[in-house]
Symmetry: C2
Subunit: 160 residues, 2 copies
């Protein structure tokens, strides 16, 4: 178990890693299967997963690749707060959560962001996962560069 402050492991930075929560940024491919295995819990009747994947086109223009940059320390703290709020509420029936954002170039069809969690019932799982994702888009200090065949544009990940 490692905890804040961040610990560099190759090119993966953990904001939090304990028996309920894993939050990290990485330049490597996001480990979807491992994340789903982690969140499973004997008290959970539901596992909800969201993966944001790179599309071939954006507003009619062909995307060559997407690239993400972050203020690593600030972004990890933000993601950590989102995960902690979700699991620590006294009303929460969210048992385990993984939040991960990839940095650098993310090839087509691969995940740039992952939210995976388990909940006692399905309703609270849907709400928590969608809420976490919106919070990430809105708050995390992560920026996206869309490289087109001609030109590119930078934007906060908060923009869809």
């Amino acid at each position: 178990m490692c905890d804040w402050p961040i610990e560099e492991e190759g090119r993966t930075w953990y904001g939090l890693k304990n028996d309920k929560i894993v939050v990290f940024l990485t330049y490597a491919e996001i480990p979807v299967q491992k994340s789903l295995q982690f969140v499973k819990h004997v008290d959970a009747g539901a596992v909800v997963y969201f993966g944001g994947t790179t599309r071939e086109t954006f507003e009619g223009r062909e995307v060559v690749h997407l690239e993400y940059e972050a203020h690593i320390k600030m972004a990890l703290k933000t993601l950590r707060n989102i995960a902690t709020n979700i699991t620590s509420s006294s009303h929460s029936k969210i048992h385990r959560i993984v939040i991960c954002h990839r940095l650098g170039v993310v090839p087509k069809k691969e995940e740039s962001v992952l939210v995976a969690l388990s909940s006692t019932h399905r309703e609270e799982g849907w709400r928590a996962a969608e809420g976490a994702l919106e919070d990430i888009k809105k708050s995390a200090e992560i920026w996206k560069k869309e490289q087109y065949l001609q030109g590119h544009s930078w934007k906060g990940d908060k923009v869809k």
Copy 2:
């Protein structure tokens, strides 16, 4: 590619299997990773997954195991209709979908039901996945037996 009518492959029955939709019932473990790989699409910015997993307790009673039975032909047709409706709507931006329900005994932490899909944007993905799951619970001809330490109860899967 195999299509309706149902085709028996060992203990897996397909209601539909083409390049956009996979719907099946199985006595084997649900292939989560394979389902997620299948739904990924170059036009999709989102992958949404839901897995219904067996809990250790239900209403305070210890569950020894859950067991599912179906009217296989009817249930496949129902699941097929749910998947087809979601992908064939002219407004739909759902690119690929997998719906699967497991039959027989489902051990703790394993999936009894899976919905996985990809969508252009995240909002339509969340709505479609949750809608599909509710339709499955409400309509599919699948029944759940909860085996407790003492006694058991049967119920339609539509009951949470």
